[in-house]
């Protein structure tokens, strides 16, 4: 399956945090080139209810500490293609997101206020042409997600379930392990 655009989201254990604190951190990361990729800018959407919160825009990925679906967490929207299979791309994006999350958790300016759950993430296909929100498409997607989850979680058991949502929404799946996984553990 040749899918370039998809989205992952790791949930925060906290429901609320002063998001203003993310702004200087993200600007510093751009200045110091703290993340791989071509980092471009910070976007502030704190005013939008259940919106993208604070975003770090890069050429390849839009990262966001966001509130989509009413759940606070770290999302990464993959925009561009590169080599590799779909499952390899999922693994790569998960690792990049985990690196982002682990750096954020560790930033002293947040005083430990943020903890991300590495053992559970949403996948959403951001490509209604190749992966419409249908049972058939999920059947095609599932092996890729399983292969990616196996790479990410090793021997830990996990499940891949389709999220029942509005058919107009993106095809979405929840990948979940049985035990807690620190986000930093995925970044390696």
């Amino acid at each position: 399956m040749d899918v370039e655009r998809f989205y992952l989201k790791f949930f925060a254990r906290e429901n609320a945090i002063d998001e203003t604190g993310f702004i200087p951190i993200f600007h510093d990361w751009i200045r110091l080139k703290s993340l791989p990729g071509t980092l471009i800018d910070v976007a502030d959407y704190r005013h939008v209810p259940d919106g993208p919160g604070i975003m770090l825009i890069s050429f390849e990925i839009n990262y966001a500490m966001e509130h989509g679906g009413g759940q606070f967490g770290l999302s990464a929207q993959r925009k561009l293609g590169s080599d590799g299979s779909h499952s390899e791309r999922i693994v790569e994006l998960a690792k990049r997101t985990a690196l982002f999350g682990s750096l954020l958790e560790a930033d002293s300016r947040l005083n430990g206020a943020l903890t991300l759950d590495g053992g559970r993430f949403l996948y959403a296909a951001n490509d209604r042409l190749r992966l419409p929100n249908t049972a058939d498409a999920f059947a095609a997607l599932q092996p890729d997600l399983q292969a990616a989850a196996a790479t990410l979680y090793g021997d830990q058991p996990f499940t891949v379930k389709r999220v029942e949502n509005d058919p107009r929404e993106r095809l979405t799946a929840l990948v979940e392990t049985s035990g807690p996984v620190p986000i930093a553990a995925l970044a390696g």
């Binding site: 510093d28 471009i40 502030d44 704190r46 919106g51 050429f59 390849e60 929207q77 590169s82 951001n126």
Partner: protein, 799 residues
């Protein structure tokens, strides 16, 4: 992902000739194939052509300047930092795009994220269109849809690579992006209450849409010097359509003739905001519908033929009308009209007008049900007090969705499509106050609608009140932004709503609008409290500031423009707004509006009272003044780039010359009342200040940090621009420069009315010469202090 590549670029490298078919057939499935049956052939051809042009640009077969205009005419704008550089608060860093050699316009990187403007004629949206807009925002953008002050929708952070498919998906639901930008007819706007307004003469919806259709791609609107904006209003008194500030404004009107009622339009021409606001002039007090298109066409042809083409700063139709005078302009247009051959399309569309008529659903959705609002009852009452407009059709209401800074998420838009289907006859409109309007809601359905909107978090009260602050994109994404208009607007919105001002009868009708620069995209000139971006050099650091604009009036169809009272440091603006509100509440007479209060107290007095807020602490004392709202970086103007408004090149000099123009405009206003109004000296002083500002503007090419001291400016201007003859006009040589020197030398002499009027005229000519001088310098490559030094040394050998 390190090997991320650009699809079109790759294809362009692989193919010897452009082949858009191959681009899409290399994929297993494509939007082009999937939507082929749904896209009108002409729209499909246009999109294919653009896709081919993308390939040709990648192959270097289309010049970047030409390609920029082509994509702009498809509404695909550049965005801040797309020159590949960004100031990080300490220094400017290069953004390492994978293929920096590939550009989509002069100094505009192909791979840099851009903005897409989507035209929504008269603001009309169907639920199906809303769903597609939500999908494309989610897949190609940052999941945010932004409603603009001209009823468009904008998406940000897009890849140019995605535009052809995005355009196809929009075309499949009847939306074109053609001429969303560029020197052509932009989105035709109309009052969102058209058809349901209690005060309108008649419903202008169909007239607006048919006018948009007629001019889309029309041969007579392809050769303008600048953009051309058209707006329709159903009445003369409300600001929903803002006709007086448009290039072409139409106000619905009825008249009696020989016992028969006739409908038509008052037609206005030559209005506009921007740096130099112009109220439109009445061209004709009654244009019958069958004359609407031919007369508009004749206006377009005269504008295309006689409008300025070289100096883009003077190329809007307002300058042509001003130059010719409305009577001569009218004569030329009528002469042109007489030469036009009859076009059946001038009147065929009239048969379609009845089809635009809307009616509500036959019954309320909640008929027979009791909606228990429970603990939401109080919030519902507040929302109902501010967000509801009772239609002239009994039993129906319009509901305004108060969108924060004009933004909503893709999920909200999708949910709203359901709400529109459930509660309305699929009748949603965008508004010029960056909101959405649901029409034809049965009043008994309002509680259920409120709960449905609450579930989407679209139930914010205070629509169209003081807390519903409007802002342009500013430094968030606009290449011209000087200050963070959205950052400030977000802060003001929160503070004003927290104080409950949106429910205060004395305050709720005041509008606050914030623009990131002088270009008036937020329409700050017609707000009761307006701001636009500026900056000052203090303590050897740049400090973001905003001009405070007072005296404007949103009501009465926004027919009064405000003027600048000077600049305020951005971080003090919320205090200034609080101060102005307190001042008004404490000092207003009964029934006195905010703008009436400002005029009674006087701008001079208010300026003095606001003066204490202009103080900026030193950098060591409080560095927060040296950052902008919502931005952690130390403030800089280093990211201001080349504007893409129809390919316009805007530099620091352009900005300051425009400011000089504003000053001179204010001087002009001061003389409006004749020689007995006591403003004569102030007008003369302002005219001189305008010339000094224009001189300072051109000096910025030599020294970006040129002082504000007039004596220093005059000295340096004489040295670098007069003695070198750089400022000399090819024909009158140093005449315009002598206006400045004479005015400065005689600044202590008392001004008579005639002398002040002459000073204003001379300042106008001096400013014009400054624009010309700047243009000559740009053409000669004297576009930076380094280039200036190099040029100067060749003129004045260092001894």
């Amino acid at each position: 992902m390190a090997n991320a590549t650009t699809k079109t670029y790759q294809i362009a490298q692989d193919l010897p000739t452009p082949d858009s078919q191959r681009m899409t057939t290399t994929q297993p499935q494509s939007w082009k194939a999937k939507l082929a049956e749904k896209i009108p052939p002409q729209m499909a051809d246009e999109i294919d052509t653009f896709e081919n042009q993308m390939v040709l640009r990648c192959q270097g077969k289309i010049e970047d300047k030409v390609f920029a205009e082509l994509r702009l005419r498809r509404g695909a704008y550049g965005q801040r930092y797309d020159n590949g550089f960004r100031h990080d608060g300490e220094k400017t860093q290069e953004i390492a795009f994978p293929h920096p050699e590939l550009t989509k316009g002069p100094e505009t990187k192909w791979e840099a994220p851009g903005m897409q403007r989507i035209k929504i004629p008269y603001g009309g949206l169907s639920a199906e269109q809303m769903e597609v807009l939500a999908d494309i925002a989610e897949e190609y953008s940052d999941s945010i849809l932004h409603i603009t002050t001209r009823q468009d929708i904008q998406l940000h952070f897009l890849s140019l690579e995605d535009t052809p498919d995005m355009h196809r998906r929009l075309a499949a639901v009847g939306i074109t992006v053609r001429e969303a930008c560029g020197n052509s007819v932009r989105n035709v706007t109309a009052c969102p209450l058209a058809g349901v307004c209690r005060d309108e003469a008649f419903d202008v919806t169909g007239y607006a849409n048919e006018t948009a259709n007629y001019f889309l791609g029309h041969r007579d609107v392809q050769d303008f010097g600048r953009k051309f904006k058209i707006a329709f209003s159903g009445c003369a008194q409300h600001p929903c359509g803002l006709t007086y500030m448009h290039d072409l404004g139409l106000i619905a009107k009825k008249r009696q003739r020989e016992g028969q009622e006739e409908i038509g339009f008052e037609l206005y021409v030559g209005g506009g905001l921007g740096a130099v606001p112009h109220l439109a002039k009445l061209f004709d007090d009654f244009v019958p519908p069958e004359e609407l298109l031919p007369l508009s066409q004749a206006i377009a042809r005269v504008y295309a033929r006689l409008g300025e083409k070289k100096n883009r700063n003077k190329a809007r139709i307002k300058f042509l009308v001003q130059k010719l005078g409305i009577d001569e302009f009218r004569r030329l247009v009528l002469e042109e009209r007489a030469t036009l051959e009859n076009d059946p399309e001038w009147t065929q569309w009239l048969q379609a007008i009845p089809q635009y008529s809307e009616t509500g659903r036959p019954e309320p959705v909640t008929a027979g049900q009791v909606i228990d609002l429970g603990e939401d009852a109080e919030a519902f009452a507040q929302w109902k007090a501010t967000n509801i407009y009772v239609q002239r059709q009994p039993g129906f209401a319009c509901v305004t969705l108060n969108l924060p800074l004009g933004d909503l998420t893709a999920q909200q838009m999708r949910g709203l499509a359901d709400v529109a289907r459930r509660f309305t006859p699929d009748a949603t409109r965008t508004t010029v106050e960056q909101n959405l309007l649901l029409r034809w809601v049965h009043e008994p359905d309002l509680p259920a609608l409120y709960l449905a909107l609450k579930a989407l978090r679209l139930h914010t009260p205070g629509a169209q009140t003081i807390a519903d602050v409007t802002a342009c994109p500013g430094t968030d994404t606009c290449k011209l932004g000087i200050a963070s208009s959205r950052g400030l607007a977000g802060e003001l919105r929160q503070r004003l709503a927290h104080k409950g001002y949106q429910y205060d009868e004395a305050l709720k009708d005041i509008r606050v609008k914030v623009s990131g620069c002088f270009n008036s995209c937020s329409q700050h000139t017609v707000a009761e409290i307006g701001f636009y971006g500026s900056n000052r050099l203090i303590d050897r650091h740049r400090v973001p500031h905003l001009h405070l604009i007072l005296g404007g009036e949103w009501s009465n169809n926004a027919a009064h423009y405000g003027q600048s009272l000077g600049v305020i440091p951005t971080k003090r603006v919320p205090e200034v707004v609080d101060f102005l509100i307190d001042l008004y509440l404490q000092g207003k007479n009964q029934g006195e509006t905010f703008s009436q209060f400002v005029n009674r107290i006087g701008k001079k007095d208010i300026k003095e009272r606001v003066q204490p807020f202009t103080h900026v602490p030193s950098y060591a004392e409080d560095p927060s003044f040296y950052t902008d709202w919502g931005d952690a970086r130390e403030y800089t103007i280093g990211d201001i780039g080349i504007g893409e408004c129809a390919g316009e090149v805007v530099s620091l000099t352009n900005f300051d010359v425009a400011r000089a123009e504003s000053l001179n405009f204010e001087a002009t206003l001061l003389l409006d009342g004749g020689d007995m109004n006591g403003n004569v000296q102030q007008a003369a002083d302002k005219a001189l200040a305008a010339m000094v500002k224009a001189a300072q503007a051109v000096l910025k090419a030599q020294n970006v940090d040129i002082a504000d001291d007039a004596a220093v400016i005059i000295r340096d201007f004489r040295r670098y621009f007069y003695d070198t003859e750089l400022f000399f006009d090819p024909f009158v040589k140093g005449k315009f420069a002598s206006y400045l020197f004479n005015a400065y030398d005689n600044r202590q002499a008392p001004a008579s009315f005639d002398r002040a009027r002459q000073a204003v005229e001379e300042a106008r000519l001096f400013i014009e010469a400054a624009y010309e001088c700047h243009s000559r310098m740009m053409q000669a490559g004297i576009n930076s202090p380094g280039a200036f030094t190099q040029w100067y040394e060749t003129r004045v050998p260092v001894s």
